[in-house]
Amino acid sequence: MLRLVSSAETPEMSSDATAANERLEAVYREHFDFVWRSVRRLGVPEAAVDDVTQEVFVVVARRLHTFEGRSSLKTWLFGLAMRVVRLYRRTTWRFERKRRAAQVAIGDDGHDPWNQADAARVLLHLLDCLPDHERAVYVLGELEGMTTAEVAEGLQINPNTAYSRLRSARKRMQQAVARRLAADAREGGA
């Protein structure tokens, strides 16, 4: 295929760009699932997960040369995903608030919350009860199965802090499940 090369682009720069693109593609193919899952678990609605994941990799393309390997690539990507998700939330918070209010009003689209197909969505809904810093630890530690040390290293926090956040998040999640069960019992009784 004929490729147009601008007059300012030297062959050396072109080879650098090609190498960077190959590295980006390798990272993309290896970690796409993880980033997609993380974006979803950090609270982005299904319809926007693809867009946000795409933006995470756009940021990766810009920043990949700054990755120094002090943490694992996976947790570095998670940090970028957190920032992009925060940006997403900040700009769509009005819409999101209405969406969640509507979701509560109609009771999660009327699905049976304990069926396999809908259980994942219920979990994501329950994750909304966690503050952001606990949510990040919970997603990495509990859902991705990372150790507390890995979580702490990836999020650049003290291991003890990571552990206490994880413990607090577990407690909150159990309380949320208990509330959910109680609500289901009331609806079933009525």
Binding site: N21, A61, T91, V122, L124, Q175
Partner: protein, 251 residues
Amino acid sequence: MSNEARRLEELIAAERAVGRPDGDAVERIWPRVQARVRGELPPPPFTRGGLRVVPAVVVAVVLALGAGAVGYAFGVGSEDAPSVITVATPPEEVPAPAAATRSHAEERRDAADAPSTPSNDAVGRDAVDAARATSRRDGNPTTGRRAAAKRPAAKAKHTGARAEDTPSELELVRNARAALARGQHRDALDWIARWREHSGRMLDEEARAIEAAGLCASGRTHAGLEAAAALRSAHPHSAHERLVQKHCPAQ
């Protein structure tokens, strides 16, 4: 394991099983990533910002405060506006009532004609004289200098062209109260004397209380008790009664 914990485990297992992208997502999104990197595709709407409510509010508040501070400092819009530049100007600088009737233009002309800051010099001399008197009384020369430095008359920093600016009534009363709290009763009375020159005098109750307390505390008990009686007649249920009682002996 409790029922909630077991349910939670089930939910997590379901999320791990179901929560993954569809089969062609990798191939579908990769061209879009490349196009975005090359700048051929516009960014999605959420990356373009929109109204950042919190930063916008912060910027608005900062601008408002900045404009207010500038207006406050330079007395914009009002002849009686308080000025931070002259907060610490001494009571002695306030022109006498007769002099106060002169126009601002005359005062500015006088200030411009003066060789240096005459009022400041005069104030400084007064302060030094008072300090020397204190020093002689205490037998300690440094005490006098310190007293002069802390006295309101010695605090003057800006005089001359802006000598007509006066501190607000609130600042005068606040300074008087602070001086009283520091035990500098004469200073407190000086500030109150200056407050009497003020045109507003909305803080009459507080100023009278400070005056009574200052008089009593400085040894002028009779005058202090008279001032306290005047306060009680003007403000029978004054909230500052405790301040007066603290310094003035019971009648």
